[in-house]
Assembly symmetry: C2
Homo-oligomer: 464 residues x 2
Amino acid sequence: MKPFLGYLKEENMSLFTDYYELTMCAAYYDNQNFEVATFDLFIRRLPETRSYFLFAGLEEALGYLQNIRFTEEHLAYLRKQGFKEDFLAYLKNFRFTGEVWAVPEGTIVFPNEPLIRVTAPIIEAQLVETFLLNSINLQTMIASKASRVVQAAKGKAVIEFGLRREPGIDAGVKVARSSYIAGCQGTSNVLAGLIYDIPVFGTMAHSFIMSYPKEIDAFRAFAKTFPQKSTLLIDTYDDIAGAQKAVVVAKELEAKGVRLGGVRLDSGDLAQTSKKVRSILDAQNLHYAKIFASGDLDEYRIAELLAADAPIDAFGVGTKMGTSADRPYLDGIYKLCETQTARGEFSPIMKLSKDKNTLPGRKQVYRLRNGDGSFRKDVIALADEPPVGEPLLLKVMEKGELTYKSPSLKKIRQTAAENLSKLPSQYKVLANAPVYPVELSEKLQQLTETLKRLITQNEINHST
Amino acid sequence: MKPFLGYLKEENMSLFTDYYELTMCAAYYDNQNFEVATFDLFIRRLPETRSYFLFAGLEEALGYLQNIRFTEEHLAYLRKQGFKEDFLAYLKNFRFTGEVWAVPEGTIVFPNEPLIRVTAPIIEAQLVETFLLNSINLQTMIASKASRVVQAAKGKAVIEFGLRREPGIDAGVKVARSSYIAGCQGTSNVLAGLIYDIPVFGTMAHSFIMSYPKEIDAFRAFAKTFPQKSTLLIDTYDDIAGAQKAVVVAKELEAKGVRLGGVRLDSGDLAQTSKKVRSILDAQNLHYAKIFASGDLDEYRIAELLAADAPIDAFGVGTKMGTSADRPYLDGIYKLCETQTARGEFSPIMKLSKDKNTLPGRKQVYRLRNGDGSFRKDVIALADEPPVGEPLLLKVMEKGELTYKSPSLKKIRQTAAENLSKLPSQYKVLANAPVYPVELSEKLQQLTETLKRLITQNEINHST
């Protein structure tokens, strides 16, 4: 096989990084800076209309940290870019040796809460930034978006259908995984089905109908091959005429003792059409035949359709969920929060740019619950403070070795469902949700104020 | 190495498909339908504000078509899904054997123009739909978006900087490639640099500055390692104080006979700050030091900055270009336009859904030019009509074998630049561009009208 995916190989992921990570690391190396540093990966803010994030992507991130290596090909390329031999020799033996804390996939999280905390010699901790962000940003974005779609569907099945417009191959697979975590029933993506054992769904496209001289011939041909639970696409020419033909085929199937699965609508006024189609089916005692809807759906459209009492049994949701179309990126960032000198002294760090402050020190996130188990508020505290609730960050790596076994995808999906059930319903609306309370511990607040003063004094008022 | 990218291997791309492609193919096989079919891949409409597409993604699409195979693992998975043995035996020997016509990468194209035309036994032609769409949709979307950013920068350098928020690993690499085609000068993505020989750029992040006790120590450390053309990030604490420290370091470098590359601004009011920083640099005779700007940029922000005479020399553009944030998907589709029976009779096909009509028959696209070589209009015609201009679709595969050698990436980039220079400037504005004229040939119009009548007669007025 001739490679055609741009050498998209796992062993190349060490170079899946911004060039500046490598120049910074070269400068650290050159200046013999091997101090231990701690970085927090967190999301700066909620996109408008979103009220929570559903965290996903950790399993891949940990796989990356375990496996990052530089090959001879990588080193030759970096040599050509002008990196020095002593630094390249260092990279040749590079392994990630740090400690990592993270929240499990399927956890509900909020802005500014550390989601992954990396403590390692600064070169290692810095180098992994880009991959970790790329991984978490996409998967958390999609899980969060899909969770809204599933909420809007109020228990009706949602199938992820967006493969053709999802941004690339990796995204296609990750969207299927992330949306399954969020509660989708399955995906159209066969590869994701193979890899992750996610249920796969799909029947026919318009082209199948159009390749037959008559629409009903196409229905019959499909029902011959898949007599059990065929879903017929009825809007290629005219949805009402299509529904009537589906009835004919359903009756032919009944004569053979099998049942039509249902019909799919993919265009037009879905609320109105689904009602007409339901009547046509019911008038012929085809109450068992389901109506499946697709075509430009998202959480808002689904909410409208259900509000209009559209008798739709399942939703195929594609592009708008698979690209998180109304907000196709998250503000996930990875920021230095502490350094530790060779003598073992800890020094908390914060960034003080306009509107872009960060929280200093090594931190933990605690979740506090109401009496009924529902989430009340979170507290971000320094890691060495006494716990004030359930800690969300778990130790997942120590000295570069995994200390955590990623749960199965089904288990992660269950965790997500449990967490979503404990998130009060006021935060699960599609717009204008209140802000979930995330507080800073008193010690963290004090540290933040102290550092602000120090930075202003040292850096801003004196130029050298 | 333990796999951590979800088995994202080239040999798995045969399953990178919607499940319904396989059920349709199984039904075709079961009904012994092996007729030759032609499908057009085209984009239905321009996103609002866009006025053209820059086509990209063909090289990967052709690699896929050459290599698609089903492994034993795939067949075992499909068996578990209930596919029948005779169909699985057919898939075991599956090869793509069709004929493909396509427009070269770097071509400017418009809605409804066939971009890839696949003629093959219907099972083969159908099965490849999802991958082709996924590939072309992303790459053409990004090339088109990046082309706008490059236009807005009016000759100033644009570097693609979005890796951490681009949707996944594959997208990260493809965005670098597609935006380079569109005229970006390079990328921060080191892997894309390795794979495609795209120039890579980047210097330091805020964390580098913050890891030193004082900002100027960080500047000095970096300049020690990279004395040639260092770009110092000056906004970690305060951009004006940062600029003054950069001057100190620049003078220290001058004393050693080297020159500072410049400074980078990543936050705040870039227009105002860049002017102040330019004065600070110029007052110290550092006219050679460049100002590099990044932070939430896109074509609109760049146009504003240049309109405000911001003295910025180069732009690092990330998230909004790398996700095509204002429109993160294209309406690329793949539609049956002709079937050919075993007896060799051609039958043009069209879809007549509400607002979703397609153009029947095997087609070619012709481009007509003005006297000065600039593009005047396009004509979509039936493939067997006499040519009326330059044909855009070239034959790229015959009997499943490549008949076309993909140009080097640099050549594709040059093709794009030439094409963009021939697109009249009225179509290259950021908003409210006129619609570029794309006409249908008279024969194609007639065929469309005839088929509309036939379909309405046969399918809509008679239910069986």
